[in-house]
Symmetry: C2
Subunit: 281 residues, 2 copies
């Protein structure tokens, strides 16, 4: 059993909000993550898990304090698992120009193949394998799981669910990067992490992945129409076209007036928790 | 009509979260505040206001992004008014040792009488007079109002409601400083802002003010019992004793396991909004 260290434990909606750190084998560094355990969770009553993947620059804390998700996790008896967005630390490489969209805080949920990134930037394996194993071994959480995310984390959630359709019961996203192969953020990250290999890029692009999907994961996407990143980086229309081409079922809702912030997440978080709760029972 | 400048306007629960700045006459500096206008608010349908006073170190933003209050303000049709906790800026004096509990970020909702603080630190008049006038002149908000706050802001809310019992329909507090005359935070602030005059201090101490209250304001206080500041700074037991002595009615709830953080506020914010909504109709 791998060691995890509890950094803090705070009561919230009669459950526990706990921050942990541990030495990650796949990322070769100390990783921090947060978990919300609803009041229903106990060794005798393990609860299902809903993983939230955050966007650029975020740590495990942004969603923890800004999204208002724990209220509904407590209501539905679901554990929230909130990983960091990348490996971190002085021994971990970072963007030389401090670009917020690449390097630390911007792991893009891929397994890097290129030096120097490949030693630490393996967030795909971290989220899909290492973290769930750790959670299920150490906490009153069972192996029933769903996943969601915001922006870069919305991309991560869609990619991970599409590639692991038998593992995740449902997937949802707020304002996801849907077609990173075709977006400036995605192109810089993929070129550096994955090299100039289109086949590798396609493994991490939702618009590509729906083409080869053999099993459909229940899917919900919410997008604000006053989102400054919508046209250039998020490209929801590309994803709509891709899912229409292959008849991949996805509930996509576009909301006038909402921007890219946590205020948008807050406004619709109740419905995302209710969506996942249906499939996690 | 005083000029207020809109810094941002974001959609949230179908209403608007707006940040403003303006030149404050009573504080002699630029002040920032945030307002949440629920979807019901319009010039033809002005809504009542609930003022939230924040705690030490906070700006108008902490409660805005962490408390989860807008969901219920939207539900009840109440505007939230979120002022800063003090005057700010390079021309405003600050604690020389950067004490988080005094100076900028720590106005304690008093009118300072001592130099150099008295030029800017007049948060009592700011919250009671200048800000409501500005709000009611410029926004679709009527003059029906209640007030609540956290920690130092819980002290501010109780003091302001007790001294203006005909102005505020109801008051509530999370983890308030109830007896600042007797607490280290309060003593440092009052000595510097008000000088060594007990009579001045008593005007800003809830335990003193209940003694001379002639009209009762409906009052709710929530306190976590794992709050690190409870014994030395908050001293709820002194307030319980004071209200019992004079039969001042107050609903006081003590909650095992909760600390001083916004997670505590989040866990009970729905009930505070419902409490005030009853009196703001």
């Amino acid at each position: 059993m791998t060691t995890i260290t509890q950094l803090s434990n705070q009561k919230l909606f009669n459950g526990q909000h706990i921050q942990f750190e541990h030495q990650s084998a796949v990322n070769n560094c100390l990783m921090t993550f947060s978990v919300y355990l609803p009041p229903q969770a106990s060794e005798a009553n393990k609860v299902p898990a809903l993983y939230f993947l955050s966007g650029l620059t975020c740590t495990d804390e942004n969603f923890s304090v800004k999204a208002g998700a724990q209220r509904f996790a407590a209501e539905h008896g679901i554990a929230l698992i909130m990983p960091d967005t990348s490996p971190r630390g002085e021994a971990v490489p970072d963007d030389l120009d401090d670009d917020y969209a690449f390097g630390q805080g911007a792991g893009f949920y891929v397994n890097a193949t290129q030096k120097p990134w490949n030693k630490n930037f393996n967030m795909y394996d971290y989220v899909v394998s290492e973290l769930p194993k750790l959670i299920e071994e150490n906490l009153p959480v069972n192996d029933i799981k769903s996943i969601f995310g915001h922006s870069m984390g919305g991309h991560g959630a869609l990619v991970i669910a599409l590639r692991n359709a038998t593992t995740y019961r449902s997937v949802s996203a707020f304002s996801p990067v849907t077609n990173p192969i075709d977006s400036p953020w995605g192109q810089k990250a993929f070129l550096n992490y994955l090299g100039d290999h289109l086949a590798s890029w396609q493994q991490y692009d939702s618009c590509e992945l729906v083409n080869i999907a053999t099993k459909h994961v229940p899917m919900l996407i919410d997008q604000g129409l006053d989102d400054q990143f919508l046209e250039e980086e998020l490209q929801l229309e590309n994803f709509i076209a891709a899912t229409n081409r292959v008849n991949y079922p996805c509930q996509i809702r576009q909301h006038a007036g909402y921007n890219h912030s946590y205020f948008f997440i807050n406004s619709f978080i109740e419905e995302h928790l209710a969506f996942h709760a249906k499939f996690l029972k």
